[in-house]
């Protein structure tokens, strides 16, 4: 069984559209994350979330919003997509805030 799974694997869409990426973990972890990896491979944390607290990287535009229906899921919703949003988005989870993270396979988002 895949520990951290995210869908879709690829997402190609037009500028201005709204899209969501789903993430689920079956590890029983209580903290989940979203990262953006750009073409230069820089990994930037966007959000971290546990059942008590959402921590937002202040540099992330408010067009991006995490939604967590339960402890095992943290979805990423993006409004009004822009060209600069093209990147690979990784979901990850860990037992607690500073524990080792398990990553999903990534979602490659391409904006036309």
């Amino acid at each position: 069984d895949t520990a951290v799974s995210q869908t879709p694997k690829y997402l190609v869409t037009q500028m201005g559209n709204d899209k969501s990426i789903k993430c689920e973990q079956n590890l029983g972890h209580d903290t989940m994350y979203w990262y953006k990896q750009d073409s230069k491979k820089f990994l930037k944390i966007m959000f971290s979330y546990n059942n008590k607290e959402l921590i937002i990287n202040e540099t992330v535009p408010n067009r991006f919003s995490p939604k967590s229906p339960d402890k095992a899921h943290l979805n990423l919703h993006i409004n009004s997509l822009e060209l600069g949003d093209s990147a690979v988005y990784f979901c990850a989870s860990s037992q607690a805030g500073r524990q080792p993270q398990h990553f999903g396979d990534g979602t490659r988002l391409s904006i036309l």
């Binding site: 820089f42 990994l43 944390i45 971290s48 805030g97 500073r98 080792p100 993270q101 990553f103 396979d105």
Partner: protein, 111 residues
């Protein structure tokens, strides 16, 4: 906010040569983690260092945490083509709120 510098950005080595990547922080760290990302893959956890001066080994990989807990290194002895990928450090300081990945070192191993 906390900053981390990882060097070098790129490293090309001949198979069998050694390789080292370094992470340097401007602040004292709570811990440091190392990850490896194969081309087209996702980051995979390698090790976590917590104690000042800590040294851990995994086969040909040696990880060190500086005495002042501001820097760390990953050393690979006798590289193999399977070592190809990007190696990242992940630092945290203070509360778990502060998590920052280094910029990564892309390792190419020439056969």
């Amino acid at each position: 906010g906390q900053q981390v510098m990882q060097i070098p950005q790129y490293q090309h080595v001949q198979e069998g040569e050694d390789f080292t990547t370094y992470c340097n922080s401007s602040t004292t760290l709570s811990n440091i983690q190392w990850y490896k990302q194969r081309p087209g893959g996702h980051p995979v956890f390698l090790i976590q260092l917590v104690k000042s001066g800590e040294v851990k080994k995994q086969k040909r990989l040696t990880f060190q945490f500086g005495e002042a807990k501001k820097n760390s290194s990953l050393h690979i002895t006798a590289t193999q083509t399977t070592d190809v990928g990007t190696y990242f450090c992940l630092i945290s300081s203070g509360s778990a709120r502060q998590l920052t990945f280094g910029s990564g070192t892309q390792l190419t191993v020439l056969p």
